[in-house]
Symmetry: C2
Subunit: 285 residues, 2 copies
C-alpha cells in the first residue's frame, strides 16, 4: 500500500500495535536495488508488518551534492515492495516531513545531532551536516512508524554506527538490525549511485572492493601494520581514481586503529569523475 | 513505586501498553512543590498510569550554575507522589541516564538541538546550551516512558514552547499538556529555587508578578504600545533587583512583538542577590 501522509502511517501503526503485531522499518531514499531488497526480505521474515519509507531527504544533502539528480523511481520501488511482502510504502513529500514553510536550517528546525567524534571523519569530514540530516530524518521516521526493528545496510557503515549510537544515547525503544552489503559478482557493492557510472567507470569502480578484499587477505595472513595494509591500494588505483580516504577504524566508535585487529573496519571512499563511491569491510571473518 | 533503572520503567510500560492503558509523564528535577502537584493531579486524572521522573539533569546546567546546590528531596518527593496516585517515581542516576563513561560533551553524546530562533533569546540568551540539555533529556524520558501525554508547567514557558516545537518537528507520538503556573497568595510563582530566598528576598521577589499583572491590567485597559507597557517595571524595581529581561513575545514561536496583542506573552527574569527568578504571563484572559 502506497501512503503519502504521516497520519495514514500512524493510523495503521496504531491498529497493528493494538493487535500486538511487531513492526519492521526499512528507511530508504528509493531507487531500490537488491541491497534494499535484502533488508526488506529480512524485515518481512522477522516482523509481522513491514514499512519501507522512500524519501529523498533534502536535509542530508550538502551544498553541491546530487539532491536534484538523485534517482527517483517510485513506481518501480513500490512494485518491488509489493512483490516482497511489504505492508506500507511510505513516500512523503518534503512538505509533509518538514512542514509548510520548511527551511533547511538550524534556525527553524529541531535537529538530532550525533556526537562530533563519530562524524568528524570518513564521509562526515567532507559531507558537513550530512549525518545531522540523517539522524534527524531517521528519528522522525522512528517516531512515525514506531518500529520494533529497523534495518540498515552495512554498506553505509558510518551511518549505521552513528544511528546505533543515537538509539543508545536517546534510549529509543527499538533494535537496529545491520544487514550485510550486497555485491555484484564482480565485487562491486550495490548502490543507487552506481546508476551514474558509465561502463568504463564501472570497471574502474572495482578498485574499491578489490582493495578491501586484498587487505582482508593480508590481515588473515598475519599482516596487522596499517602502513603495510594501506599500501595495497597502490596496486589498484590509477589516474581515473581520486582517493578521498582509506581508513582503519573501530567497529563500535570509529576511533582510528594503530594496529589492525578483529574489531577493525576498513573504509574507503573515492571519486571516479563526478561520482563519489564508498565501501567498507570488516577484517574479521 | 520508586524505580531507579530504565529497564524497570520499560518493563512496566510494556505491561501497561499491552493492557491498553494510557500513560502520563511528568518530568521534574524534584524538590516538588504545589506547582508540580498540580501537574501530577492533572496527569492522574487524565491518564490510567502516571510516571513522575525526578532527575537533576546535569547537561542542562551551564557553567557556574547551581547544579551542586540544587535542592534534592527524594524521600519527600516520593511521598508526595504516592499520596497523589502516581504509579512510578523514576529517579535514575546520571550514570543510568548517560552511561558509564558519560561526559557532558557534544563530542561523545547525541543531542537533540532546538532551533536557534527559539533559544537565542529570553533564558536561552544567558543560559547557553541549557535548552539543548532540556530537549535531550526530555527526548530520552519520552523514549523511556513512551507516554501518551506529557505535562509541563507554563511557569517555564520558553521550555514549554521549545518542547512543543521538538514534538512537532520530530513527530513524537504524544501530546504535551501545558499546565497553569501555581502562585502563592502574594502572587509569587512557585519554584524550587524559591528555597534559596531569604524573607527579605522573597518580599523583593514579588516585583516579578506585580509587574506582569500590572502590565496585563494596562493591556486590558487598551494599552498595546510595548514601550508604555514596559515602563510599568520602573514602578516596582529597586536597587535589590537586577533585571535580565522584560520581553513581549509570540506564544507560538517566541518572535518579538512590536505591538501587544492576544497572542502576546510577557516574560521577565531578574536576579535578587545570587538567585535568578523567572515568570511570565499571557496578556489574553
Amino acid at each position: 500500500m502506497l501512503v503519502y501522509t504521516i497520519a495514514e502511517v500512524r493510523q495503521k501503526v496504531r491498529e497493528w500495535k493494538k493487535a500486538g503485531l511487531t513492526i519492521g522499518l526499512v528507511p530508504t531514499m528509493g531507487a531500490l536495488h537488491d541491497g534494499h531488497k535484502s533488508l526488506i526480505t529480512k524485515s518481512v521474515s522477522k516482523c509481522d508488518k513491514t514499512i519501507v519509507s522512500v524519501f529523498v531527504n533534502p536535509i542530508q544533502f550538502c551544498a553541491g551534492e546530487d539532491l536534484d539528480k538523485y534517482p527517483r523511481t517510485l513506481n518501480a520501488d513500490n512494485e518491488l515492495c509489493e512483490q516482497n511482502g511489504v505492508d506500507i510504502v511510505f513516500a512523503p513529500s518534503a512538505k509533509e516531513m518538514y512542514g509548510d514553510d520548511y527551511t533547511i536550517s538550524h534556525d527553524y528546525l529541531t535537529y538530532v545531532i550525533p556526537p562530533s567524534s563519530y562524524v568528524n571523519k570518513l564521509c562526515g569530514k567532507s559531507r558537513i551536516g550530512h549525518f545531522d540530516g540523517v539522524c534527524t530524518v531517521v528519528n522522525k521516521l522512528f517516531n512515525i512508524a514506531e518500529p520494533d526493528y529497523a534495518f540498515f545496510g552495512e554498506k553505509d557503515r558510518q551511518q549505521l554506527i552513528v544511528l546505533q549510537k543515537m538509539v543508545k544515547d536517546l534510549n529509543i525503544p527499538l533494535q537496529i538490525i545491520p544487514c550485510p552489503t550486497v555485491r555484484e559478482e564482480s565485487g562491486l557493492a550495490l548502490s543507487s549511485r552506481n546508476k551514474y557510472l558509465s561502463a568504463e567507470d564501472k570497471e574502474n569502480a572495482l578498485a574499491l572492493s578489490k582493495i578491501l578484499f586484498h587487505i582482508k587477505d593480508c590481515y588473515n595472513n598475519g599482516v596487522t601494520d596499517i602502513k603495510s595494509l594501506s599500501a595495497v591500494a597502490d596496486i589498484y588505483l590509477n589516474e581515473s581514481h581520486a582517493l578521498e580516504y582509506l581508513d582503519f577504524r573501530d567497529s563500535d566508535d570509529l576511533t582510528e586503529k594503530q594496529v589492525a585487529d578483529n574489531k577493525t573496519i576498513v573504509f574507503i571512499a573515492l571519486k571516479i569523475g563526478d561520482v563519489r563511491l564508498i565501501d567498507n569491510l570488516a577484517l574479521k571473518d
